[in-house]
Symmetry: C2
Subunit: 205 residues, 2 copies
């Protein structure tokens, strides 16, 4: 990033950077890191190659800036939800709803992250997804344990945490693979309710 010394009409530079950022998001999401080319990105952004290198240094720099902006937003919003009050069930609903909302805001980044995190590294540069994802896991885990202490829940904390995260991820996965079959926030909360209440009929067993 060059040292700009009080240059007011920087609107052009800003817009170029943003256009590159948006174009990179689309291209990386459609092709993955390895298969995405700098040519693809600059073409979509309506600039030439050296412009990308001037602003982001390399394909790698472009990629990291793209992921960084999405994941920092995730951490911020999950942190905000942690301050809410109410029953553990209610707070889990809110948290899951927020996770889903973040996914909708950053679908491109989630798709790329998903592929790299669970799949082959694709030769992509290292990126610390764990920091943000552990944040989410800890947030769920904390609410579960509070529910246990309050006598609202019963069972194994780790198994319950996995079940809650499982329904969130399942609904996100469905939408990633088949957008037309998306279940939405409503479908997610419905599945969360299954986990909270159980599938078996009351008194059955």
């Amino acid at each position: 990033m060059p040292e700009s010394e009080a240059a007011p009409p920087e609107t052009t530079e800003r817009k170029v950077r943003e256009r590159l950022h948006a174009a990179a998001a689309e291209v990386f999401a459609r092709k993955g890191y390895a298969s995405a080319t700098v040519n693809d990105i600059v073409r979509k952004a309506g600039v030439t190659k050296p412009v990308l290198y001037y602003h982001y240094g390399s394909k790698e720099g472009m990629y990291k800036a793209f992921l960084e902006s999405a994941l920092s937003d995730l951490e911020e919003r999950v942190g905000a939800v942690e301050t809410l009050r109410g029953s553990a069930s209610l707070r889990l609903s809110r948290l899951c709803g927020e996770i889903y909302a973040i996914f909708r805001r950053h679908t491109d980044a989630v798709r790329v992250m998903h592929a790299i995190y669970y799949g082959p590294p694709q030769g992509a540069p290292y990126f610390d997804f764990d920091r943000a994802l552990f944040r989410v896991e800890d947030s769920v885990s904390k609410i579960v344990r509070q529910g246990l202490e309050a006598g609202e829940f019963e069972g194994d904390a780790a198994a319950m945490t996995r079940a809650v995260l499982g329904v969130c991820n399942e609904c996100i996965d469905i939408e990633l693979a088949h957008p037309e079959k998306a279940v939405g926030k409503a479908g997610l909360l419905e599945s969360l309710d299954v986990v909270l209440r159980g599938m078996k009929r009351e008194g059955g067993r």
Copy 2:
């Protein structure tokens, strides 16, 4: 599976094909489709480039053969579990256990599939994952509906199906991202039990 079986002195060809297959599995799983190179595969298999082209035609043919063998195994085993009898809960446990076992047998293929199916296509050739995955989903869904009809379960069938698949995928995802944190079949069944019984304490609310 090659057509002719009555050729005894084919041991060399067989071994070469199998070595290539195994090498491709490792390389695709470590690098993904786009980033994996034919050179990587032949080097690991201990053969030269034209040998791969002779047996599999192209990088694409190598890739498809690799996935096909894993997914046909998946379909076959899921079909076998469908014949079992017992309560819906028990059959769901068996099915989830089998899904996990298949994942363990074909971790490489699952990793690659996961990335392509939920993530960017990576410029990989089209492969019909849906056929096999819908088979799994239908299998779970059918048991859930039978449980509902028998009065063993209560709730929304689609939401319950998502919850069950969610715990399976969650446990698989954990192992894909952090093998050292794997919860194993036991952990999976524990989480499935959470879904069956519910997190909330009996009588609470």
